[in-house]
Symmetry: C2
Subunit: 417 residues, 2 copies
Amino acid sequence: MNAEIIAVGSELLLGQITNSNARFISSQLAEIGINVYYHTVVGDNPNRLLDAITIAENRSDLIIFSGGLGPTKDDLTKETIAKHLHIELEEDKDAMKSIVEFFQNQNKPMTENNRKQALVLRGSHVLANKNGMAPGMMYTASNHTYILLPGPPKEIEPMFQFEAKPLLTSLVSKGQIVSHVLRFYGIGEAELEDKLQHLLENQTNPTLAPLASDGEVTIRITANADTTEEAWKKIRVAKEEILHIAGDYFYGVDDDSISSVLTKMLMKNELTIAAAESLTAGLFQAELANNPGVGEALLGGMVTYNEQVKINQLGMEKEVIEQHGVVSSECASEMARLVKEKFGSTIGVGLTGAAGPQAHGNKPAGTVWIGIAIGDEPPHTYRLQLSGSRNTNRLRATKSAFYRLIQLLIEKGYERA
Amino acid sequence: MNAEIIAVGSELLLGQITNSNARFISSQLAEIGINVYYHTVVGDNPNRLLDAITIAENRSDLIIFSGGLGPTKDDLTKETIAKHLHIELEEDKDAMKSIVEFFQNQNKPMTENNRKQALVLRGSHVLANKNGMAPGMMYTASNHTYILLPGPPKEIEPMFQFEAKPLLTSLVSKGQIVSHVLRFYGIGEAELEDKLQHLLENQTNPTLAPLASDGEVTIRITANADTTEEAWKKIRVAKEEILHIAGDYFYGVDDDSISSVLTKMLMKNELTIAAAESLTAGLFQAELANNPGVGEALLGGMVTYNEQVKINQLGMEKEVIEQHGVVSSECASEMARLVKEKFGSTIGVGLTGAAGPQAHGNKPAGTVWIGIAIGDEPPHTYRLQLSGSRNTNRLRATKSAFYRLIQLLIEKGYERA
């Protein structure tokens, strides 16, 4: 089965947004062994959309549409397909019910154009939208399968994963395909590929696909076998070989993030944490708080953006700043120690540095100091020299602090989650 | 002139990377008034690439390729085009020279396959690559213009902007095209379109293109005229009409973000700010700190994730929490007032709520209270009832706080930035 993904929306052709939906759906299809041969993007224009559909029907079995299911007049994907396939649109009761409820919850009047969102292709399998109003559809006719999905990523991603993908998997079920992602931090993609070269070259089942993004590197292991158990067996063998070589940089699997791994570890070991943040200005704590249940571990902390705040609120001695400056090992160390004491947590983290674009005195942009205090020991400090933009540097500093803390906890014998 | 962008690379079809090049080139073409009607993505396969070229020639005047110019066997864009157009490839001396220099600078031996990168279509205009090895090309034949560009964003972006775009601009110079984006918050896309329906329907020059993302709505106004001044005149008229109807929700233009507008406004009016955050856990301060120079206004603040921290660190009376709970107007109001006092800022902001997925006692997930204290007046509070995921809710709460504060400052007569 060969697939084509058609994204509909003039905003894509104007360069206002990136076609991230095609990437997401492609990676999902790769997991279940469906080849994607083409992506197409076409604007909110019924004639050009019709042309794109005709071309796709000539070269692809499965045609997946994203976008154009919304309430406005520009949204014309299902109307165009209905006309092309000579089928009617009809109101889906469940979809209509959830649209009405959506407006009731928001305490807003429902405008008439929203009714249009509940229309579906007659005879299609309706895909529920748990994160928005427009339902999706799957329709099969004369050797082609058409899947219609909404445009917003937060709607299309869960809908594809939980509604469409299981249907497609059962369509193509020729053996079982299992994927497992290993996540690494603190090592570049080229360096990791270099270390694993002999594995990357010789593997066909499972396949190993490395990918770098946001300062992290992942390796996706995909195995194919008659049963899920056998596929997992293949994955475990490959995983063991990889971790034997690059285990030092390994932090988690699949949908883990560095902050979720740290959160689980804090909770498992009943540790509490507080942070004092300068350049990251709350990002460390905000990222930790992405993880539900983190309230057991994260007590809170301070944003000490201003020098006086470090002295008056956190209680730092003026001399530390005068002697070493705020971008220094000593300052990071004191921030970690003081915030731990003040908040009564088991762990204190301090983050200070020059995010950029300006240098901070004689400290160039991208200089970061991380302090970590655990229990009564003298705090540990780490220096980073980053070369990204202001906000990349702030995010890297945050992730590095998570990573350093995880490594430190492992060294001290705390259990991994 | 109508354009199509063909990105070549199997990694795009596997979902390993996003087609950000198409977005970049599209936004650049929009600026010079070239309509993009299609994006296509095709893998490293010469037959399918050839099919894609033939389809593009039937519907587009300008065909821009990204990717497939590198040294490996998979890189076949220029070979396929040369064969299709019956033209030879020849070595470009300048390109060869810079490839040799590249390896010398890196102190590495040049492998033979790198010679392939210096080959260009005979008769093409060669586009220099200042950030990599493979040169780009522009070639015109029988009513079509073909532009070949490398795949890596750091190579294609400067090459397009500084080499290809000036050539295209001189090709299309028929009047001036100017775009201007208006940004709105606190109103849905459907509701805004409803309000502006008569304008959206009747406008052809300028055109109005609404777009929703991340809880915001933008309207791009694009005008075409003989001179830039006349184009701007058309834009100003449309802008005035739009703001007359929907001005209450307007917060900024072009590349503004809500936090950048607020930051500029704080700096212009010499106001200082501190925040106490529960559900957002530092996100409000971290988002403000995205903006360079914010240190003049943002003193810092506290993350009071834990109830005891609100009492012990921020100094809240235990009775406030016992009587009203932490998800309450009273608690948000006290957080705003106390953090303002503690940090000695002119403005204090308090954020508390149930981010989800769990409710907080009898307060359903998505209930948020924002408190804003300015000067000595009693704090203002605002309630939100959000329906997104945990992290969408936290981001919406943060943006709403920015928006409410901007509105409040305008009401109080502070100057917009």
